[in-house]
Amino acid sequence: MVTRRQTIFGALGTAAALTAVANLSPQALAADNVDEMPRKKVKLAPPPFVHEHEQVASGPPQVVEFEMTIQEKVWEVDDEGTVTHAMTYDGSVPGPMMVVHEGDYVELTLINPESNELLHNIDFHASTGALGGGALTEVAPGEQCVLRFKATRPGTYVYHCAPGGSMIPWHVVSGMSGTIMILPRDGLKDEKGNPLRYDRVFNIGENDFYIPRDENGEYKTYETVSESFSDQIETMRGLIPTHVVFNGKKGALTGENALKAKVGETVLFVHSQANRDTRPHLIGGHGDYVWEAGSFNNVPDRDLETWFIRGGSAGAALYTFLQPGVYAYVNHNLIEAVELGATAHVLVDGEWNDDLMKQVKAPGPISK
């Protein structure tokens, strides 16, 4: 196996080059190295799905190239026709999930098309420096930029827009957030270091929306995104969301859009909330292994009923389905789940296990 150190030196080649390397600052070393590293272009997949990726890295670190186009668009948040002006990374809420391995370099091209109204940027919680890259990625409509950062910490991390002042919370609660997952090069592990693998990943982004109402209590609509700003800020300052939803819309992950799995399959639920605390719970199931705060350098918690996702973070829960059925995956503030929208469904096919649960006697008259 080629180590990272060998890769660096290998790229430079000669003994003379090795001497020169000794005098370089760490940044310079990395920069020289990156130019020689293998590159991979990844096509992102919209949530709740995730682009194809290896769970265990088969090669040395590489530069992984992503591209996201920011889209400001009219967005329906429930099944009653309530609309807002969403700001999105690549057209979805949340933005698409990026997956790389520790030691890889993430190279993002961020495009803000001329047709947009606002300036945007991106703050990666996984990155180090420049306000998470925010200070280096401010793009006005008609501009694009490229940011590269080294994925040094394995885990699930939020990214979000942060263009200054009131723009920061406004852009975030308008949908501008997502998750990057940085896997350990040798994959996920349990508390004893045994490998943990998944059959699929679900990218679940939870959003709190604050839609202003008029004097009759009806939701207001606005011709342009900037016109909604003053009213929205006022509603946001009340701190009570009008909608708390998964993947941008009440019902985005139920009915025909329900998530699907089979008995025996292992699913990694990655749950992000860029603004507000939440508490996912799988009704009828568990979190077998949960990285509640997202960092894969920590030992996962075992067999959790409900896990806490701090506002401004993403966490991961691994679960192997043992029974078929319809599962509800909810924010276990049940008012938010049922009344405000934070519910997803998982349809699981397979054989029932009587040992785990059996209906001994169906409901009937009280026989005393």
Binding site: E117, G142, G164, G165, S230
Partner: protein, 306 residues
Amino acid sequence: MTAEQLKNTGSVALPLALLAGASLWLLSNLTAPQETTSPAGGGIAADATIEAPELVTIPPRSFEYRDPARYIENELPQVSPLVHARVETELKVAKNLVTNKEYRACVVDGHCAPAITIKSPIDNHPVVGINYEMAASYAEWLSAKTGENWRLPSALEWAQFAGEKYEDPDKDIQSDPSNPAVAWLSEYRSKSKSESDAPRQSLRPAGLFGPNNFGVNDVAANVWVWTSTCYERINMDATGSQSRATSCGARVVEGEHRTYLSVFISNPQGGGCTVGDPPDHLGIRLVKGAEQPSLWSLLGRLWPFG
């Protein structure tokens, strides 16, 4: 350091020295503004009862001026150039900021949106809680009412009438071509320092902060004003080729320090960047007469790398 790096550093360092103010470029040939009258007022009737604001005439003058565009060279943000502006024409500027009473007349007339403020406005206080659209609407309305050309100043004109109150926004900003954080830190320290000397948040009647050397009241006190100057970014690469992007969705706001704000902001909670200090209040100061040719066209001609 490798030879390759030395070469890179060299190519950045020389222009950087120029950008940071080692060289002052002379801006001349600013032509006389042409007095235009009665711009289209969108059906607003002229009204002799609306009094034009009291004017101060600023004589032609030369001053150092920091280009408000943002410069990026070889993918690194740079300190914008300090230019020596020689303005050869007079500028007519309103002595006072627009007051609540004055602004209300436009609101009552149905042309201006009400200012966005929590407190009940006092007649002789400057109007605040104003976004760019409101400020521009007010200028349009006043022009139609008086038959004169009233408009927002450009950032250059603001510096022209601000006189001694104009402080170079990037005076103490350092930069290092290999370390962008040097500029961020020095900018933060410089702005925090100026903020601690800033006037109080509470508003006072127009004029109470006093005149500057030209007799213009309340310049760079606790009300920041909108300018007509759009957000602009100029990129240069190693070959010296240059591209520029202008976005009029954000404009320069001038006051005790300079910032950019989105045009729909009326009560900023943060400055131009996440960690900057926000302006206290946003209001309106008008100038009279047609605008002079843009600084950019002149800079473009003088730009040594273009």
